[in-house]
């Protein structure tokens, strides 16, 4: 980047009336990072990256923090933190204060923490003897602070699978406060989670389009008991996380391909999977070996994160267009197209499992696979392995079509379903659908209901009312500005019976 361009772009950011002070500073830091050289890549990988067949999510060329970090807050609460000069808390007030301080110190790609802990499990030890009213009051203040201090929809907390007083209070507060932050996941275990608690979750979905629901037994199978869904529905290990997220654009891979479907499967697809992996490795090595993140960050020093619990996310998107390009059918509607989609995902999963990756002991030395839900600059390409907006079949057929892919995506899928308002008077029907979807092997998903003020742009939430105001007034939440791009580049609000799309950081200026 020439100094001239650098200065002009810096000026643009500094003078952008739609950005808050913090947002301007965040983008300025991104611009500075962009001015550095990229880690060395093969010509083939460089070319694929330039054409955006493989995509680094515009993370920047010099990763100096892991993209997704899931601190072990339970350990911190038990032992305190030397770096933060905090003793272990002894009551609820101290615990909430401790966590709020710690969140402010957790690095991430958005500069805001993507994981706030499984707050029901973390806080239950502190609520014995605390009255319902006091718990509600303290948690509500805490919740309000989360939204105002970390105004980014990728900030995420988890509750469940057990039904707890804290979990229920959180859902009640969510319904009352109607905030974008924090994003919320409810872990559901058919054996452990009572219908009543899932129903509380459903009632909350009606109000605020969250929580997201995850299939706890399936997650435990792949990640162990200590996992969480963070940011835009990335399931990762607690005490670990993901160094980076690099995604393969399957639509573009198919567009670059000349030849038969079999030829795509045996030549073109493995070629780009290899290049995506090469890019991941280069970025991991920079983070660990050059920026030496794990040697200096206090979270690592105090054992609140551990390199051995990290891996990296291999993302894919544009499956639907890929299939259409190759054989012309509609993925999710036509059987042959849907089956080819499953075949492609299975082939990618097999290959990714066979590529050794450094510093990825958190997943046995290979990458996690993730259906990436898009970013706001994506145009005419469907998120992850989803069915395109407006083409979704009925809910049952939809679930049947996408469920087989869920088995492979150990780092999350996030299919999203739009449901009709008639269900509002019958939340038990949604509980049935959730249980059925998990029985069919779905890993994670959520619902959008048309009647509330929230819309899930690609995975993260934005208020419709904020979106409408954004163009003129700017938005307090960093993610609303992404949402604005997604809203105008795709037609996410036009989605009919269910829903689709997206993600984190995007370039400030178009390529």
């Amino acid at each position: 980047m020439h100094m001239e361009e650098f200065r002009s772009r810096a000026r643009e950011i500094v003078n952008d009336p739609n950005l808050t002070f913090h947002q301007r500073r965040h983008y300025l830091a991104g611009l500075a990072e962009e001015s550095l050289e990229y880690p060395s890549l093969s010509d083939a990988a460089r070319q694929a990256l330039d054409k955006r067949v493989i995509c680094d999510m515009y993370e920047g060329p010099a990763p100096y923090r892991a993209r997704y970090i899931l601190p072990d807050y339970a350990k911190a609460l038990a032992h305190g933190s030397e770096f933060l000069e905090l003793d272990p808390p002894t009551d609820l007030g101290e615990a909430l204060n401790f966590l709020m301080i710690m969140y402010s110190q957790v690095p991430s790609i958005t500069s805001y923490p993507v994981y706030l802990g499984d707050l029901d499990k973390l806080l239950e030890p502190f609520v014995e003897g605390v009255s319902d009213e006091d718990l509600y009051r303290q948690l509500k203040l805490f919740w309000r602070a989360l939204d105002r201090v970390f105004p980014d929809a990728f900030t995420h907390t988890n509750i469940g699978p057990s039904d707890t007083r804290v979990g229920r209070t959180i859902l009640r507060i969510e319904r009352e406060l109607q905030q974008v932050v924090p994003n919320l996941t409810l872990k559901v275990d058919p054996e452990l989670t009572p219908d009543e608690f899932v129903r509380e979750g459903v009632l909350t979905v009606f109000e605020v389009a969250k929580p997201h629901f995850v299939n706890h037994p399936l997650m435990v199978r792949d990640l162990g008991e200590e996992y969480a869904a963070v940011s835009c529905y990335n399931s990762l290990k607690i005490g670990g996380g993901s160094h980076t997220l690099v995604r393969l654009n399957l639509k573009e891979a198919a567009a670059q391909h000349e030849g038969s479907v079999e030829d795509f499967m045996s030549r073109t697809l493995p070629y780009y999977v290899g290049l995506n992996a090469e890019l991941i490795e280069a970025r991991i090595r920079y983070l660990v070996e050059e920026a030496r993140f794990f040697e200096h960050d206090f979270l690592a020093k105090e054992g609140l994160i551990d390199l051995s619990k990290f891996s990296a996310m291999f993302g894919v998107f544009g499956l639907s267009e890929c299939v259409s390009t190759l054989i012309g059918g509609r993925y999710g509607r036509d059987q042959a197209a849907t089956e080819l989609g499953h075949r492609i995902i299975t082939a990618i999963a097999d290959q990714v499992r066979s590529i050794p990756m450094p510093y990825c002991e958190g997943n046995g030395g290979v990458c996690f696979l993730h259906a990436q839900s898009g970013i706001d600059t994506d145009v005419d390409v469907t998120a992850g392995s989803r069915i395109p907006i407006g083409e979704e079949p009925d809910l049952f057929s939809h679930i049947r079509a996408v469920a087989p892919n869920h088995d492979h995506f150990n780092a999350g899928v996030s299919d999203i379903f739009q449901v009709e308002d008639t269900v509002l008077s019958n939340p038990e029907a949604m509980v049935d659908v959730i249980r059925g979807a998990f029985a069919e092997g779905m890993r994670d998903f959520t619902f959008n209901v048309g009647c509330n003020d929230f819309i899930r742009i690609t995975g993260y939430l934005v208020r419709k009312s904020d979106l409408a105001r954004f163009e003129e007034a700017g938005a307090r939440h960093g993610s609303t500005s992404f949402g604005y791009g997604a809203e105008t580049n795709t037609h996410v609000t036009a989605r009919n019976v269910k829903r689709v799309l997206v993600h984190e950081r995007t370039p400030r200026s178009p390529e």
């Binding site: 009925d394 679930i399 008639t422 008077s425 029907a429 949604m430 249980r435 059925g436 029985a439």
Partner: protein
């Protein structure tokens, strides 16, 4: 005894408005009422094979079967556009099909993981009581579906001998009460309500009455006086009874029955207020 077959109009796999939880709903063909506000009048009569619909079908999906087999459907061509139903002068459809208990059970079984239960609606489900009893028994007996509850959505016109056949395999019923006054009921449906009132009492005593539904038609059965007496009567049956107020909707109603006003939310709230005031404790509005 040969296995009973049912005449099926259609089914939907997911419904959140036909009883508790998510339900598979089968709509049987044929009804013994002729309600002026019916939203799917093409389910009222069975097809007489007149063939009026064959020619207008834009997809050429309808044809004459061999050897006097009547009007047939090529399902690979039909796109459910509805032209056949629109041109039918008999309030019927050529698309209804005869199904076995096993065939419909297979459809239920495929969706069973997602369901609280199955609801048979219509048309009038109790007109095909053997089929319904057979299907419900299969649902209860067979692994894979035995967790499902079985519900009937009925106009309440059948007698106790039919209910006695159905109730051993039926968990709940939803009965429409179109009017408490017999003359109003006849004006709305063409028949008396004696058996409907009997059915409501019969089912309530046997704890199989999940819900009574009041479709309110402006100017016919929605006066304050009628509603108050209806509420009073229902509270006498069981004050804890779940009563669903269904506002009139134009959707699907035959054009000869004119354009009535759809009630506004305030009007719906007013209905509910009167019912509650007369002792009905559980009022649901849709």
């Amino acid at each position: 005894m040969s296995a009973p077959r049912g005449l099926l109009n259609d089914f939907i796999r997911f419904s959140s408005v036909d009883g508790p939880g998510n339900r598979f709903v089968a709509f049987l063909q044929g009804c013994n009422f002729d309600c002026i506000f019916c939203h799917n009048p093409y389910t009222i009569n069975t097809c007489v094979d007149c063939g009026i619909c064959v020619e207008p079908c834009p997809e050429d999906a309808l044809f004459w079967g061999d050897n006097g087999a009547g009007v047939k459907v090529d399902w690979s061509l039909c796109n459910l556009c509805g032209v056949c139903v629109d041109v039918c002068p008999y309030d019927s459809t050529p698309l209804a099909r005869s199904v076995t208990v096993d065939a419909l059970w297979e459809e239920v079984n495929e969706t069973a993981n997602f369901l609280s239960g199955v609801t048979i609606s219509g048309g009038e489900a109790t007109l095909q009581a053997d089929f319904v009893a057979g299907l419900f028994a299969a649902i209860k007996d067979r692994s894979g579906t035995s967790h499902l509850t079985t519900f009937l959505d009925s106009n309440g016109s059948c007698g106790p001998e039919i209910w006695d056949r159905l109730l051993p395999v039926t968990d709940g019923t939803m009965i429409d009460l179109k009017a408490l006054d017999e003359d109003v009921h006849i004006a709305l449906t063409g028949v008396s309500n004696n058996r409907v009132l009997d059915s409501i009492r019969y089912l309530a005593v046997r704890r199989r009455l999940y819900e009574v539904r009041l479709p309110l038609i402006p100017g016919f059965n929605d006066s304050d006086d009628q509603l108050a007496r209806t509420a009073n009567w229902l509270a006498g049956v069981d004050p804890a009874l779940r009563v669903k107020v269904i506002g009139y909707r134009r959707q699907g109603v035959r054009s000869q029955y004119g354009e009535l006003q759809e009630p506004q939310p305030e009007q719906m709230a007013h209905y509910a207020h009167i019912l509650t005031g007369e002792g009905v404790r559980d009022v649901v509005q849709v």
